[in-house]
């Protein structure tokens, strides 16, 4: 049972990552995973390029805390969180979360929980380049609402 967290510039291979996470563990009956991707539109404007900044050190700590919280709530085996930083363009993968468990309900819930908390707690910031110029993306009220659903 392990929580893996990686912050990186490079792209990732979801098939290889899931394979490594299962690592020949025959107790894994379920793998829920999520990929977040750069869209070419946001809030009605075309997006050509995106830049992701983070707060090194705190980012890893927050993601470890989110994974530990998930482990306390559901009966899960391993978790993997990969988040890219730096310059990204439409179609690029931004974030990957995968959770293994014996039964599917646990991995589904933990995976969505981790994404909702990552969106509201982990220190990442997006700057978009649109035809109207560069802008920092504002926090979404819908993300706060998504995270608030999980209050015990």
């Amino acid at each position: 049972m392990a929580s893996f967290v990686r912050i990186q510039d490079e792209d990732f291979d979801v098939g290889a990552e899931i394979h490594a996470l299962r690592l020949g563990n025959p107790g894994v009956g379920a793998v829920a995973s999520f990929i977040g991707c750069v869209r070419d539109m946001n809030e009605g404007d075309a997006v050509n390029l995106m830049y992701l900044e983070h707060y090194p050190g705190m980012t890893e700590r927050e993601l470890e805390k989110i994974a530990t919280e998930a482990r306390g709530r559901w009966n899960i085996l391993d978790t993997l969180i990969i988040h890219r930083v730096g310059e990204l363009k439409p179609l690029d993968q931004i974030v990957f979360v995968a959770v293994t468990s014996a039964h599917r309900g646990d991995s589904f819930a933990a995976c969505e929980f981790i994404m909702d908390f990552l969106k509201t707690k982990a220190p990442f910031w997006k700057r978009e380049a649109t035809p109207q110029g560069e802008r920092w993306v504002d926090a979404r009220v819908s993300d706060d609402a998504a995270a608030a659903r999980w209050k015990p």
Partner: protein, 85 residues
Amino acid sequence: MTIQLVFLARLRERFGVSREVLALSPPIATVATLLDQLRERGGAFAEELAANRAFRVAVNQEVVALDHPVKAGDEVAIFPPVTGG
């Protein structure tokens, strides 16, 4: 006593600085008194750190409330609401 200040994302750009070492005055500080000290600089600091603006403060990489103490050697980061994922 001095602390390490970190500004991130839009606030880093607005303040034109990403890190600085700051001597606290008064030396017995909380996040609230530190913010008062920064607002006294005026300009972008007064504007962005006004009480009605949305920003977060982390002391030693943990998000904290306004009454949290700030001690010598602390790393205090000020940043906008997060937008990752």
